[in-house]
């Protein structure tokens, strides 16, 4: 999903670091606080007669924020995580 330019002027998003995704949840009662740090996982396509294994799913990013009025979550790319771990 493309990052709207005006999304976060206080803490602008950097496409090399951040990405966003929309979400569906009960807007009235959902409290996204506490979700920060959670992983965004891919849903692998399982073919007929194929056994599922954890290797088939990937962590795409780590949630870093949310924009409640726009139903958007902000995430840090896994490439940044891998670089963080590699550099240390």
């Amino acid at each position: 999903m493309a990052i709207p330019k005006s999304l976060d002027q206080l803490n602008p998003l950097n496409p090399d670091i951040d990405f966003i995704t929309d979400y569906f949840h009960d807007k009235e009662t959902w409290d996204p606080k506490g979700m920060s740090g959670g992983g965004a996982w891919t849903i692998p396509k399982i073919r007929d007669s194929e056994l599922w294994s954890p290797d088939q799913t990937q962590i795409l990013g780590i949630q870093s924020g949310f924009y409640r009025s726009r139903n958007l979550l902000r995430l840090t790319r896994t490439e940044c995580l891998v670089k963080l771990l590699l550099d240390n």
Binding site: I17, D31, K33, I43, S64, L84, L85
Partner: protein, 175 residues
């Protein structure tokens, strides 16, 4: 085929939940966050957003709540109280906040709001938590327009509570 899809979906959800932990602190008023247990180059880490860890600068105060010794139960939000108090969905096991062995806290402002705790002794401290192998992930391709699953512990499901015996602050979690 539909049955297999449903079972695959359950297995996936169980896996995502098994790799996710709650990050809490002994410090009163700490707002909990979520962490993901990962393994990279034969080293275990809890990764999270940097702003979660900034709320507690002392590693020794951190409490990690990992997966309990039970299978994932899917319960509609409205039915959580009866599942918890009346055990309508079978027995429920709990998991306690644990001081884990943190050997290093890794952050870099240049890499965004992300941080990692290098951890040891996880077999004892988080025996049921699964550490996802990042080394085997391969190249990342963010699939535009395709659904992803975000796994975490929102405030409405992770309620801060005080332990009646020890008086230690904690988080009651309904997953």
């Amino acid at each position: 085929m539909k049955v297999i899809d449903e079972e695959s979906s359950k297995a996936l959800q169980h896996y995502f939940a098994s790799c996710s932990v709650i990050i809490n602190s002994e410090t009163p008023g700490f707002e909990h966050g979520t962490g993901v247990a990962v393994r990279y180059r034969n080293q275990n880490y809890i990764v999270t957003a940097s702003h979660v860890l900034k709320r507690e600068p002392r590693n020794e105060k951190l409490l990690i709540i990992g997966k309990p010794d039970s299978t994932l139960k899917e319960v509609e939000k409205q039915k959580i109280p009866e599942a918890f108090f009346k055990r309508t969905h079978g027995p429920i096991k709990s998991s306690t906040g644990t001081h884990i062995t943190i050997t290093e806290r890794i952050e870099s402002n240049a890499l965004g709001d992300i941080a990692a705790l290098k951890v040891e002794n996880v077999q004892n401290d988080l025996p049921h938590t699964i550490f996802h192998d990042l080394s085997g992930q391969g190249e990342i391709d963010i699939p535009k327009g395709k659904p992803v699953v975000i796994c975490g512990f929102p405030g409405e499901l992770a309620l801060h509570a005080e332990h009646r015996v020890t008086g230690q602050p904690g988080v009651a979690v309904f997953t």
